[in-house]
Structure formats: structure tokens, C-alpha cells
Symmetry: C2
Subunit: 644 residues, 2 copies
């Protein structure tokens, strides 16, 4: 699935022609809620002095891409449930900023108490400018410091203070204060992953971290990203849909480990044993457990005990609340944490697990496509029913845990909506006449998958084949690229586009994102995109997606996505001993030959497709055989005939 | 010529194995100079309170890439004359920071009063850290605010104040104060360029600027870059070698034009007429002339007369002195000025001029190569004599003004030194056994050229041919690339490297830089580089170089450089009506066929070479004919035989 953080606002504006919208699209009535919120903004119970505006950002306290229902505060107050948007309520006004993907949806979900601020349009003011234009002099603007990142706080505070206002941290969240039936914070069962899956014990991860801390003279590291905590402790949860993470913080010192998590979760004997909570470990490898909420006071205590020269690492995307606990002189804000980087480079066990997960995933998809060939002519297969069937088939595979993101299952024109999710009122039937795009993936105990295939069950037009072939050429150009060690992913992005560009075509999203190992399907800090942020150099063991596409609004969408592993490659020469890298596809699902115009391929590209299909046959074929899935095996053999 | 601002310090470190060094390499004796400088640092004549350190940067008051002798203050104080370096003198210490290109040279040119700070090495402190480590508490660090850019000042001031020190602006330059025989600031004759060369009168450029100022509600624009001032007024000078610019400032308002320049230069009747100094122009198009030095006080006067909401544009790379004249509330600092952008997009007259200049330049080079073929077997041709001959042949061409940069003329291993400049003690003789690389260019009244060819006069080895062919493939991949309007140059950089990467090879400089039209051979804001700064989107009319290379230390260097024009191209499709672009080579000098391994070329690449050579024949051949340069014409016809 394309990482939406690689697209910018303007780009979404261009893509906003038609977006999927929710079933019940009548606006939420917010008169009473706004009255209550405004009352809270003056209520001494929450604030010492009344505030004139209150900002409600989208995120949670961990700056997660996906959030839990209890954190959907912006949706609660305004009704708009898209993935991105910020609400601001003043005494007189209520406004919501969102980007082009969501203009229609937001306008349908919000009542007329709300003004929609269309980001990316020239006439739309920024939040700062708007606040300055509507606020009385010397206003106070409140925000929950837990759900605003430190860098965002800094910018907003600067803009407001420049105009005579001030940004104030309101410790009690005012939405929570008026949200009567707010769901509780999830506290799902934790799964402890053994070395079989992780390859590295959490103790070794701690020791490796401490080595890096010692090198940089760092005393403590505050871990706030949920996937980093899950990765560190080799634990998984299901607090957030699709992301096997759990709500927690960790504060790691040179001789202590503090884990902040709901204590109920630690009653489970397997988890206790995994964390060695009841055994006599070495003191510096003993996990001290604290309630999730006590991270603030514990971090204060840690800071109070620092000697003048000691430093604490914290990511500059961490919450303002936690960042500001650390006095500036002790704070070392970093764009990527050591865990973010370490997690991105998979170890041999994780690589093996990712390979196994992709084979199982391919088995499920081969079955799905074989089934589709049978069923489509009956005219009863819909976008939703394919998505359901795909999930059912995946769930039959060993170590299946759940999906890694909502399945994008799209027929014809729906395929042109890049983040389409089929809903009853948009649901189309698959036919022999239209392209079908399915972008889906799963979480297995041993790995995470994410694969897109575009197929046609009848006779594709020459134009569809031509476009598909350009996308394939781009996919191959990246997948087969050889590049020096240390190359950043953005330098490969144009390889994916060259064939499309040559004919005047393009796609408006990045080419690839990092993929976690039984973790988030989107992870930093590497990727392949024309955008150059969040882009650490590629190194062997990193795993990214390779997913160029082409979209024609109102007609069709094409995307071809494999998850690929960065591997070393021996080249003829070795300039300055730098060594070279290339990619190995982990995804092993046939690419529909019917959609390829072979005249447009070079011999090298034809060889690549044949090699790829040979590997699909060998690896996935053997597993289909083992699982006795005869029809899918027949389908696989038919679909992987080599070109002559 | 490769733009060195596209390379970073680490990169240079890697390239520093062997560098060209100056003839007389005995160190400058600086005991007495340092004594005088330290005296000045305490002298109430220059400063109100003694300063404990004085920073001597490299640049001039206009942040020029090349500087005039009177601005070589850092060289004066420490002896080191490389193009990059900063000297800092405290009461006890004297230290010079420079990068890997210059470690050897600096160590040879400086006496033992100086500590060489090798930038890019881990153990080397930054200037800020070093100052903090050596200064007594509450120190004052002085710098001439005219030769430090506003953004550099900001960073240095912040670091120092964080450690309890302060950065102070010393208005009188302390080096000038002790530099007895300091050369005067050049004030060369100005040349007025008519519409025949410029295509746009300076009045129209002013009106166009005012349109942009009105759009953004800007009242004034302070122009400090010398090439922008030359471009604006359609005037050229020769104050700085190779760069046809002159020392000046301009401050442009919505109804006034203030030019700050040595008044003697305006006595020339042609210049007076050109600027309409003596005629009754409209008041808003009347140029008011002021002495160069009065820009500070005049800008103060402009600022004093501003209404509260008025804003002034100034580039964030302008000098700290001039930037700080503008009160913050009125200052709108911009990364690129409107002139920088406007100048980069050449108008039809400039494009025509650039084409003509490149034809004349090609005539000179064809003659040079024909001459070399004759002369080399005699064993008397050296790197220096070829450079001289090239200049002589260019100077025979109409409208020749001078070289656009020092000729890089390098035989065998010298070719691996990317910015090599032959000196008597490094001068090698051209032979039939080694590769020869010549990177050279000239200023003509109608345009600026910059071309690199690598040739072999005997039998190149298979390996040399292989490497040359990869470089050629990279050159063609960029030159023939088709890409959407609005693409940034850095997205094309990998195209130039793909063939080298495939074999494990690479080169450690950018692929292209912007080129001025009878202006600086390196200009922003576009380019083609793996570095992503200074990189505005490419648009039709921009002119850049395309110069991949391959360098093998101690053996040879290969570079193939054409100057290319960005042009629109009609593609089969036109996604979202964005339109597409490609490049048209302006440089028309044969590429040596002998060095090409045609087996490594695709048919498309072979066609490109044939087409290119056909164009050389037609265009340059006709001019050689017209000029009656028979031998060069014969050489051209021989060297441009099509592949079969």
C-alpha cells in the first residue's frame, strides 16, 4: 500500500476528484458538543485562566499513523473521520483543516457549525494565520501537549507569540472531559515473541542501544513510538487495528529499564517469563514496570537526578508534553531514534520470517486468483466479497494474525482512487470488462506482507496493456537496480517513472515505503520517493515496497507492488570498495502476462519476468503442493509460463 | 566544469589523494601580521571593547564564488590561497578550517603559527566548538558583517551565545587595517549590452520584477549578487576573473531604482546612454546612482521611510551587514531572488546567443583537436601548451571576451584530479599512450560555454573504452531523458549513474550545474545532482551542464560534458496536461568514437550518437566552411562518421 506520508497536500488535492465516503454520510450534529467544549474552555477545573481557542489535532500521544478509537477526538468533536485533519474551536468559530483527499467527505460529515479549511488551496489560511485573524488581543490558545509533537508545538507557539498571543498546554484533554461514552484505552493481550521470530533477545537489543548511547555520551533514551517499544521488547499487542502494537512508553538508562504499560497486561505468565519479571536477572537488565500514565512523573524524577552534563535522547517527533519534561540543557532531540534505524535493518531470522510470511501470503493470493477466474463469470463477485475472500484465505495460513491494512479492492474507475476502500454504496461487481486492482496484506507471527496486483479477467485493451507495461518496466527498473552502498532511496525513484515519463505519463505518489517485520506496514526511515525527507541510506537487510502505478481518473488504476529486500550484489568492479546493493523480491505472486505488451520490453526485462515467475513456481509452487492446494497450483503453473 | 558547490566536504576528503599545488610552496611568515592583527583586536580605533577572537571568512560582500584580489583577506593573513577556508585568530591561537581538497596545500602554505583544522575528519572540531573550547568566559568574537552571510551569522551567534560568548560585528575590516599593499577594489570598464544580446531591456526587467513585488505585497528588493545586478542592468564588467560582473548593489522600489557603483564607471557615454542617465525618463524608470559604499546608509533611509506593513525582499545568503539594516518586521528573507529565477530561464534572444557562442566554441575546439592530432606525435605538447592553444583559438572567434574558468587540461593520472589546473611542476606531456581530458569554456558577448572532452590519441585499452562508454551512456541517459514539467534536477541524477553503478563504478560529483548567458559559468538555482539543495524545478529555457565522469586515482580521468538547453517535447500522452521536457545539446563537439565500445550501447544510444554527430557536422561544419578552416573541417568529418 502506498505510504500516504510520501504524498503532499497539493498532490492529494489533485487526487481528490472522487473519494470514498462512509456509509452514513449525514453530518454529525455538534451544537451541544461545541457548547460543552466552550464551557470547558472557561472552566477553572481544567485551566487556570480561560482560553480563547482550543486545538484538536488528529494523532495520539505516540504520533501513530493509525489510531485507536479512544484517540479519535477530532472525529468526536466535528464528525469528520478521515485520517488527517485538525479542528480548532474558538469562542465564536469552529474550523477544520484537511487535505484534498477529504474535502467532499469532510463537508458531508460536518454540520454548519464548522468551516471547512481546504488545505493546499491558495485562499486557505494556515491555522496560525486564521487564529491570528479571529482572536482578540492577547489570547490564549490551548492544546493537549500529549498529542502535539514537539516540533509542531514550537512552530505554532512561535507564530502565536509573534502576534501577541500564547500557546498554552492544557493537561486535561477537554474533549475527553466532554466525551461521555469515550471508549477505554485498549489493553489487549500481549504476545511474547521468542528468538525463533525475532533473532535477537530484548536484552541484546538493550545492550546494543547502550553501546550507541555510550559512544555518544547519552545517559537515557525515551522511547515513545509504539512500534519501537514492541520491537525492543519482542512483544506484540493489538491495541490499534492492523498495527500489532500496544500502548506503552519506555525509558532506558545505562543501567536501568523502565517500561510504562497497563499493569494488568503483565499478569500473563508468558509475558512475565519473557520479561524475566520474576527471576533474579542482572540489575541492569531488570525491567522495572510502571503504570502507563506515570511516564511523566518518572521521567521528571530521572531528569531531577541528572548531573549537569548528562543528556537524554528523545525523538523530535515525540509529544511536546514528554519532550518538555526534559530540561533543554539535558535534551538531545534526534530525527530518528537508534531503534528506528536498527528496526529497519532486518536480521537473518527476521528476513527468513519475512520470506516465509510472503510465501504463505502468495499461497492465499494464488488461491484467490484461481477462485476469481471461476467465480467472476457468474457476476456475483464484488470488491467487498473479494476482500473478504482474501482475508478468509489468508487466515487459513499458519501464524496468521490479521490484516496489515484495510484491503484496497477496486474495479475499473475505483482503481484510480489510490486509497480506495470498498463500501456498500461504492461496491462494484468484478467483470470481464474492467481492470481489477487489489492491494492487500497481512500480519503473520513471522512477518508482514503488502502486495498489489492489477489483473484483467477478459480482454484488456491495447491502451491498458501499454500502461500496465510501462508500470511493469518501472517496477523492474527499481527491482533490478544496482546501486552503491549508502545510496538514498530517493535516488531510485525516477527509475520507476522513466518508462511512463517517456510517454508523457506519471503517478502522483512515492514508489516505496519501509515495511516492518510483524509490525507496521509503513515504517521509516527508508523509502523510495521523489520526496527526500525521511530517507536514510539503503543498506542490506532493509525491506521496502516497490510500487509504481498509473491512474486514469474515472477509468482505471494500475499498480504493481512487491515487497523487496535490500541485498548485497557482487559487481564487475568495486569502486573505492564501497560495495553494491540490489533488491530481492520477497513477494512471489505472478504478474499477469495477459496485461504485458512484450514488444515494449527489452530482452533484459523479459528475462526478469521469466526469472521472477520461475521463482514463484519453485517456491510458492512447492508450498501449494505441500498444502495440497491443487487448483491454485494449476493456476500458478498456467500464469507463470515463460516468454519465448 | 563540475560545480564544486555540488560536492560536499566528505566527498572532497575522499578526493584529496593528490591535489595540484602552487609553484612557490614555502609557507608565508605570519608572526608580524598576527601581532598586528591581535593589536587591532584591542584597538579602540576599530572596536569599542577588545575582542578575543576574529573570524576571517573566504568570501566577498556579495558571496561570490570567485573573488577579486582585494577580497583575498584570508589568504593574506594565513598564506593559504585555496578557494575555500575560514581563518580564526584568538589572542593565543590561529587556526584555519578547510576541506580535503586543500589539506596538503594549506599545510605547505601556512607557517607553524597556524593550526590546520581538517574539515570532514571526525576529530576536527567545528569553528564554534573550537572557539568555545579556547575562549575565556564571556568572550567577544568579531567578524566583518559584510563578508559573512546572514544565515551563517545566525548559526554562529546562536552557538556562541549558548556558551556565554557573543558574536560582534566589527565594521572596519581588521585585515584591511593591517594590509598595507592591499590592491584597490577593481573598477573595470562597463560594457552595455543591447537588446541584440539580452532580448529584454533593463526597464522591462524592472517592470516584471515590480509585477512580482506587487503580487507579494513587497515594497523593495535589495539585490546583492553581482551576476543578478549585471543581468538586471544588461551591463557587464571584468572585476572578477572569468566572471563578467562588476561590484555594485541595487535597491529597487515600486517607483525608484537605486544603483550603487563606483561613479567613475558611469562617465562612459555608452553606459550613460544605456542607463538613460541624461535623458528625461519616466521617474519610476530613472536610475539614481550612488557610490558603492553608500548602500548601507541609503538602505537605512529607505527603511526609515517604510510604513509599518511594508516588506523588503533580501536573499538569505546576502551579507549579515545589509540584512540587519532591514528591521526584522520589514524583512522578507528569500532563498532565491526573483532575478535568480528569471535569469535562469533564458529568453529566445539569449538562447540564440548561447547557440551561436557554442558553435564558435566548437569551431575553436575542432581546430584544437585537429592541431593536436598533428602535434602530439612530436612530443612537445603539454597540458599547459594545449590550454594556451585553446585560448588562442577561442580568442580568434567573434565576440570573444575571455575564458569562463581556468582550463582543466590533464593527461593520464592528472585527469583523476577533478579540479586540476596544470602548473609548471605538474605539467605532463600529451602522448599516444594516455587519456587526455580537457574541460574548458569561454565568455563571448552572446554566451558562455563549458565543455569537456576526453580523448585518446593512440590505442585506448579495453578498460578505458569500457569506462568511457559507461560515462557516455550516463550522458545520453540524461540528455535524452523525457520528464514532466516541474521535475527537479536531482531526480535525473541517477540516470547519469545507472550504467556505471551496474558495473560497480561511480563518480563523486554532481552531474550538472546551471550556466549563465555571458555571465557566471556556475549559476543557480537549478542543477542535476544527488544533492538536493539549490534545486528549483527545471523549466523550458533553463540551461545546465550534463557531465558525468569516472576517475581512477593515479591512472586516468574521464568526463564528458555538454551544455544542454531544457526544451518542451511532445509526448504520446500528456498526463494531467502537465507537458513534458527534454534537453537539446548546445555544445556541438564530436565525442571520440575510438573510445566507444559500441557493443555496450543500445540501438537507441547508437542512434543518439549518430544524430548528435550529424548535428555537429551540419551546424559546426557549416561554420568551419564559412570561416575557411579546412583542416578542422576535415577533422570534424572524419570524427563524426555514423555507426552502421
Amino acid at each position: 500500500m502506498c505510504a500516504n506520508y510520501y504524498c503532499n497536500v497539493l498532490l492529494y488535492t489533485e487526487l481528490s476528484l472522487s473519494v470514498s465516503t462512509d456509509a452514513a454520510m449525514s453530518p454529525k450534529i455538534t451544537v451541544e458538543l461545541l457548547r460543552q467544549l466552550r464551557q470547558a474552555m472557561r472552566n477553572g477545573k481544567y485551566i487556570t485562566e480561560p482560553i480563547q481557542a482550543y486545538i484538536v489535532p488528529s494523532g495520539d500521544a505516540h504520533q501513530s499513523e493509525y489510531i485507536a478509537p479512544c484517540d479519535c477526538r477530532r472525529e468526536f468533536i466535528c464528525g469528520f473521520n478521515g485520517s488527517a485533519g485538525t479542528a480548532i474551536v474558538t469562542e465564536q468559530h469552529a474550523a477544520l483543516w484537511t487535505d484534498g483527499r477529504y474535502f467532499l467527505q469532510a463537508s458531508q460529515q460536518m454540520d454548519n457549525n464548522w468551516t471547512l479549511m481546504k488545505m493546499g488551496l491558495k485562499e486557505t489560511p494556515t491555522q496560525e494565520d486564521w487564529l491570528i485573524s479571529v482572536l482578540p488581543e492577547n489570547s490564549k490558545v490551548g492544546v493537549d501537549p500529549w498529542i502535539i509533537a514537539a516540533d509542531q508545538w514550537k512552530n505554532m507557539a512561535k507564530a502565536l507569540s509573534g502576534a501577541g498571543h500564547s500557546l498554552v498546554a492544557v493537561q486535561d484533554n477537554l474533549i475527553d472531559a466532554i466525551w461521555e461514552d469515550r471508549p477505554p484505552r485498549p489493553s489487549t493481550k500481549l504476545i511474547a515473541l521468542g528468538l525463533k521470530y525475532t533473532g535477537l533477545s530484548w536484552q541484546d537489543k538493550i545492550l546494543s542501544l547502550r553501546g550507541k548511547m555510550a559512544e555518544r555520551k547519552i545517559s537515557w533514551f525515551v522511547v515513545t513510538a509504539l512500534d519501537e517499544i514492541a520491537w525492543l521488547f519482542n512483544l506484540r499487542g493489538s491495541d490499534i487495528e492492523y498495527n500489532p502494537v500496544f500502548f506503552a512508553y519506555a525509558v532506558i538508562g545505562m543501567s536501568s529499564i523502565k517500561l510504562f504499560v497497563d499493569s494488568k497486561r503483565l499478569l500473563e505468565p508468558a509475558v512475565r517469563a519473557h520479561l524475566e519479571l520474576d527471576s533474579q536477572s542482572k540489575p541492569e537488565l531488570t525491567v522495572q514496570c510502571f503504570p502507563y500514565e506515570s511516564v511523566y512523573t518518572e521521567l521528571q524524577a530521572v531528569c531531577a537526578a541528572l548531573t549537569p552534563k548528562e543528556k537524554i535522547w528523545i525523538c523530535d517527533k515525540a509529544s511536546c508534553a514528554l519532550t518538555q519534561v526534559i530540561p533543554k540543557v539535558h535534551r538531545s532531540a534526534i530525527p530518528y531514534t537508534p531503534f528506528c534505524l536498527a528496526k529497519a535493518v532486518k536480521n537473518p531470522t527476521e528476513i527468513q520470517g519475512m520470506k516465509m510470511a510472503h510465501i504463505k501470503d502468495a499461497v492465499a493470493l494464488c488461491e484467490l486468483f484461481a477462485w476469481l477466474e471461476e467465480e467472476i463469470p457468474k457476476g456475483t463477485v464484488t470488491e467487498i466479497s473479494v476482500a473478504d475472500k482474501a482475508e478468509e484465505l489468508r487466515s487459513q495460513q499458519k501464524e496468521f494474525v490479521g490484516l496489515s491494512f484495510p484491503t484496497i479492492s477496486s474495479v475499473g474507475p475505483n482503481g484510480a482512487i489510490i486509497h480506495y476502500r470498498p463500501l456498500p454504496e461504492t461496491n462494484r461487481t468484478l467483470s470481464l470488462n474492467e481492470l481489477y486492482l487489489i492491494d492487500s496484506g497481512a500480519q503473520y507471527l513471522d512477518g508482514t506482507t503488502d502486495v498489489t496486483r492489477t489483473v484483467h479477467f477478459g480482454n484488456p485493451s491495447d491502451y491498458e496493456k501499454e500502461c500496465f507495461t510501462y508500470v511493469l518496466k518501472g517496477h523492474i527498473a527499481v527491482s533490478a537496480a544496482v546501486f552503491p552502498n549508502g545510496t538514498k532511496g530517493h535516488l531510485l525513484d525516477s527509475f520507476a517513472r522513466a518508462a511512463l515519463w517517456e510517454s508523457g505519463l506519471d503517478y502522483l505518489h512515492g514508489t516505496g515505503h519501509g515495511v516492518g517485520c510483524f509490525l507496521n506496514v509503513h515504517e521509516g526511515p527508508c523509502g523510495i520517493s521523489y520526496k527526500t525527507f525521511a530517507d536514510e541510506p539503503l543498506e542490506a537487510g532493509m525491506i521496502v515496497s516497490d510500487e509504481p502505478g498509473y491512474y486514469e481518473d474515472g477509468s482505471f488504476g494500475i499498480r504493481l507492488e512487491n515487497v523487496v529486500l535490500v541485498i548485497p550484489i557482487k559487481t564487475k568492479y568495486n569502486y573505492r570498495n564501497r560495495g553494491s546493493l540490489t533488491f530481492e523480491p520477497l513477494t512471489l505472486v505472478p504478474i499477469q502476462l495477459k496485461l504485458i505488451n512484450t514488444d515494449l520490453l527489452t530482452q533484459k526485462e523479459r528475462d526478469w519476468v521469466n526469472d521472477y515467475h520461475r521463482k514463484c513456481r519453485e517456491t510458492v509452487g512447492a508450498e501449494l503442493q505441500r498444502q495440497g492446494r491443487k487448483e491454485a497450483l494449476d493456476w500458478l503453473m498456467r500464469e507463470t509460463q515463460p516468454f519465448v
